[in-house]
């Protein structure tokens, strides 16, 4: 009944999913924060760039971005991101695509967090003579980060689920394994159940733990 279940294969595939999630989450947190900084900053050109980036990237399907990294960047332009075997190259390209896409959402979440900081905080900081960078780094962003733990958790959960799109360019993660298994074995419900459970195990704790964290760190006002 469970003859499709090769534990090593299954855990391996989910491990790739986890790795994709973690690398993309770190990357998009950094790039997303930079974008948010640009969007609220005093330099019109950077503000424009941030706005255009977010609005363009949010409206392209992630699948188009990921397939483009493979067909456009790698096949056509030969960009391999320093990888030498096809699995490594595809993995890195998928991470690049996921970062490019997810940072738009990180930026928007952070910007809505900046909106929750009371005006008086920034005004007081400016009255003390702090520069824009100091206001953002010392006063506004620390409070903004603490108020966006919940939205960020939603971005992270969506990212975890979005890593399945990487199977479109052959990254051997969970959805890729599932596609192979359901074509090979006649135990559709069981296989789908196992993978559904796997994703619930990944996403549900993320939501619960970060929900608890968001209550702990929220700035009480």
């Amino acid at each position: 009944m469970f003859d499709f279940l090769d534990m090593n294969e299954l855990l391996g595939a989910f491990w790739v999913t986890v790795k994709l999630t973690v690398y993309s989450a770190l990357g998009s947190l950094i790039w997303g924060t930079m974008l948010a900084g640009m969007r609220v900053g005093p330099i019109p050109l950077m503000r424009g760039f941030g706005t255009v980036y977010v609005n363009v990237v949010r409206n392209i399907p992630l699948t188009v971005i990921i397939v483009f990294t493979s067909l456009g960047l790698y096949s056509t332009l030969g960009i391999a991101l320093g990888g030498d075997t096809i699995p490594v190259i595809n993995f890195r390209l998928a991470v690049l695509g996921l970062i490019a896409y997810t940072s738009a959402f990180v930026c928007e979440a952070l910007r809505s967090g900046i909106n929750t900081v009371p005006v008086g905080q920034a005004e007081a900081a400016r009255a003390l003579g702090l520069s824009f960078t100091q206001v953002l780094r010392l006063i506004v962003l620390p409070q903004a980060f603490r108020s966006v733990v919940n939205p960020m958790a939603n971005v992270l959960i969506a990212l975890t689920k979005n890593t399945t799109v990487a199977s479109a360019i052959g990254v051997a993660e969970a959805a890729y394994l599932m596609k192979g298994l359901i074509e090979e074995y006649a135990a559709l419900l069981l296989i789908a159940g196992v993978f559904a459970l796997g994703f619930i195990c990944l996403t549900l704790p993320t939501g619960l733990i970060l929900g608890w964290v968001s209550k702990k760190v929220a700035v009480k006002r």
Binding site: R39, I43, N115, S131, A175
Partner: protein, 303 residues
Amino acid sequence: MTSVLYDAQGPSAKRRNLLYTALFLAASAVVVWWVYDGLNSKGQLDWVKWEPFFTSSQPYVTYIWPGLQNTLTAAALALVIALPLGAFFGIARLSDHWWVRGIAGTVVEFFRAIPVLILMLFANQAYSDFTDIDSDMRPLYAVVTGLVLYNASVLAEIVRAGIQSLPTGQTDAAKAIGMRKGQTMRYVLLPQSVTAMLPAIVSQLVVIVKDTALGGAMLTFSELLASVRPMSANYGANNIASFTVVALIFIALNFALTSFASWLERKLRRGKKSTGAVVHAGPGGGLETIGPPTIHTDDGQSG
């Protein structure tokens, strides 16, 4: 333009900002040059590769329009089916009976936790194993099923939040004039909350349109993204040009929807007839950052 985050600029700040602008421009120029050089050296900028999109209607008629039609069909079907289903589960989650709440809650949380792609793969195989749907139509069925299962659960949350955004006085008043629970929901709560939900529903449509592309990449569903391969093959491996055109169409379509949603939200906030509550809108007060208003459905960035 000024913001609360920084002071009106004096001469030295203006000079400094000019310097940063110049540096940013220089960095952008380097990136643009690098991209241009990469494209040019692989011959992707040759006029031959772009010409079909400017001089003839053939790529649009043969590849793009059928693909776009399939994308729109799948998205429309998914929304039309998911909306009543979502409303049903959203209302069920507000039931007075704990077991109805429990079942509806479990179903909604289950389908929200699973990637759409997994649902689509499952539906595709299930239709092939257990039904005799024509194999030409199967990808469309599978894509719509996957989208419905996922988006119905997201819409259920939107409906629930919409109903909860109404003042409790509405329910009390309905009770006071002797309405039953079903009547309260039908005549009082739902009609009012629909306005609050509209922007969130429209922006969910963007997610649905984007997710149809999964069917093109994984299920041989011939939607817009899937038209890139035959197009690129037909016009001399113009991968970049084909991708650019398809991406631009997706951006235009979804940008129109996003703009419509935020226009709707602004209109509803000003409107006198609504309660002024809008589901999942950004919080008011505090620092207002510059930029168009954004709408956040809770995890509306799938696929």
